[in-house]
Symmetry: C2
Subunit: 427 residues, 2 copies
């Protein structure tokens, strides 16, 4: 069985561990075999060195920690003291940070093993890295957390860390056919995590099972109180098409509409609804806020190393510097207004549902796909989870996005677990 | 006149510059003379090297930037690529970050000169650094941004950067008799700024004139739209005593009450009021949130360098790890509820007023004073400004704290400028 350990979800690994049948040496060996077999094609890692993994395993204490010996991938804009952290930029090709990011140290304290650094687009913005979609190598894995999505999808690691400022978790997770969880703004410590926007940057997790998110949140944040777990058997789902619905592929729209009909047939409420200000205005607000804030966040490189920046990131910074304060503030106020309306909508619905992407991953490695179905939620700071819901006409994965109220991540994760069960039972 | 250039406020320097009469070489020379005369007593700097200042001056382009050649102090938990950044800890005594913090790069892009790194308490928490109060060397300058407050108070630099997670800007500014501005959470980029709490860390500025804050905000964020500037001649001031009022020194309470009477006499409204949940609960919530989040933020050092941490910071981390998620979440919810009530209160008042500290700086260098009058506003994420309002019985400075709505920093700064004018005209 050990040959397949790399394919198990974190939840499965925990069940094996509970039975005393998880050998962590076999686990990391299986993951290493998978990397060696596939990395030349998938190209998920910016830095990978199995000796570093073995060293961490050797340094582990007794098996008393929740994630004892569990390997995970770390997006390469997240600091690690023992592996380079390049932020997807040649500027930092050889950069070893002085300390781990808080989230990395916390996972290590829980027994986790940093398996390698996964490819990020340049500064978690547009310029793709080398990663290919493991389902079809001619297609983009999405971005910016592309190596994390691909490494989890290709069974190289059970989970991986990413970040999102526009669609950088939800999009690559959906394109690669895995679970992606983009946390609420403020939900996790971001010390040592490459920054782009002080009001939108969020941590993200890629897994192969929604249940894994419960395990990870518990290891990082502590156990939720029991009252956080909803017991509802019938959902009230708010289905938000947004003004961009027609930009989604026809086959994908049909899949979602069919899913909605099935919900209704099974006695769940499935209401087409809108949230907050016009979704086009909200998506525009996200663009404005990102450019304005990224200009300040990337000023260190723009000022000192401009020649080594891509035209895309330079254009973003210059766009941001040209945005008047009043326009930025209007965009922020719109986002905060929408956040309040989202909160109200979630008093009446268990969760909202909306497309994860415009459809399957495009057949290109030159760009990472359209972020349009994430922008409005990201500017609100909302938690989002994408679950795989099958394949499209080109044979690539499709996802469905769940949205919760800001700060209510635990509830959203619980709904995602139940929805995953429902979707699997229907498949 | 050049001997006194170091004593001028940023606003005065800008006026001199507008007349073509500011010689930046004379300015930095005057600041250097002041440091050499006083640093052995005040001990404001963790790192100071005039050659590095001269190098920055030499590298300046033509005088077209708003802060061309203006020196400023940088709290030593804020990254600088050309000067060590120790975070007030022996762990990072020789640490040179790979890049400037975003805020430092942005100020440099505006023409500013990093004059030196100012002393911080260990990781911006409790353990005092070496700095003494320039008004009376036997007294604490406050903390955590102690070197920034002292360097500005002692005319070594016109302004300095700090951070606040409890009272780390307002308290040292009040104790040293300068203007302190603690920004709203989310107002400025915090990339490369030492972190302690993902929901409370805020940037701060120390100046000798409230007008300087307008200049700095403009250089960093762009010009505010005209409608942001209130034209009111008579204020509606909400005076928040809080449940901790009796912890303030009697003389200080009397000074504030007298100020309130004067406002009323002059036709301003001065209403004693409360905001949000009980202020004791809010202060407790700040303690809970700080410990819980700091435990995750400082996990890199706790995991890898525990022997080099102070007992205070270790106790904070261990306290934080023992806090159940449910208690942390309750504290956060209380804070967000209070934030909403603060917003409503500021629809009916121009600004709120509350003590900056419990009184004058205590006669000790072993601790940095009581943060109680800042905790509740910090956990809400609110902007706060302290203005000097005279001296107490021991001859040390006292401040008065102005509070605004979250994200409405520009309005609060404008009120602070007007209030400063009012207070000066009455002095």
């Amino acid at each position: 069985m050990s040959a397949d350990l790399n394919t198990l979800s974190l939840a499965d690994l925990m069940r094996l561990k509970a039975k005393g049948r998880l050998d962590i040496h076999e686990l990391v060996a299986a993951c290493d075999r998978r990397v060696r077999a596939r990395e030349s094609e998938v190209r998920a890692f910016e830095h990978y060195d199995f000796a570093a993994v073995e060293n961490q395993i050797k340094a582990l204490g007794p098996d008393i920690l929740p994630l004892h010996g569990i390997p995970f991938g770390v997006k390469d804009i997240i600091d690690t003291r023992d592996m380079p952290t390049t932020w997807g930029s040649a500027i930092y090709a050889d950069h070893y940070p002085a300390r781990d990011a808080g989230i990395v140290a916390t996972l290590r304290s829980a027994g986790g093993i940093v398996f390698g650094k996964t490819v990020s687009t340049e500064f978690a913005f547009l310029d793709p890295g080398k990663t290919r979609n493991p389902i079809n190598l001619k297609h983009t894995p999405g971005g910016s957390s592309q190596g994390s999505a691909a490494s989890v999808a290709d069974a190289m690691v059970p989970f991986a860390l990413g970040t999102q400022t526009a669609a950088s978790v939800i999009r690559p997770a959906a394109f690669c056919g895995v679970v992606g969880y983009k946390a609420s703004v403020g939900e996790f410590d971001l010390g040592g995590v490459g920054n782009l926007s002080q009001t939108m940057d969020s941590l993200g997790f890629f897994t192969r099972d929604a249940e894994d998110l419960v395990i990870l949140r518990q290891a990082l944040l502590g156990s939720p109180s029991d009252d956080a777990i909803p017991e509802r058997k019938k959902w009230k789902i708010g289905f938000v098409k947004t003004a961009h619905w027609q930009q989604a592929d026809k086959a994908y729209r049909e899949l979602i509409e069919k899913m909605g009909e099935a919900f209704a047939t099974d006695g769940h409420e499935w209401r087409v609804m809108t949230v907050g200000p016009d979704s086009t205005d909200l998506a525009d607000a996200q663009v404005t806020v990102m450019a304005y804030e990224a200009a300040r966040a990337r000023m260190p490189e723009y000022r000192d190393r401009a020649a080594e920046l891509s035209p895309n990131i330079k254009a973003l910074i210059e766009q941001g510097l040209s945005i008047p304060l009043s326009r930025y503030q209007s965009a922020r106020r719109l986002a905060l207004k929408a956040r309040e309306e989202l909160k109200r909508a979630l008093l009446e619905h268990d969760f909202l549902m909306t497309p994860s992407t415009t459809g399957e991953a495009p057949a290109t490695l030159e760009q990472t796909g359209d972020p349009i179905f994430s922008r409005m939620w990201t500017v609100m700071g909302a938690p989002a989870i994408t679950l795989p819901v099958g394949r499209g006409p080109a044979g690539l994965p499709l996802g469905i996005q769940l949205i919760g109220a800001v700060g209510e991540d635990g509830v959203l994760v619980q709904h995602a677990v139940e929805l995953q069960e429902y979707l699997r039972s229907r498949a």
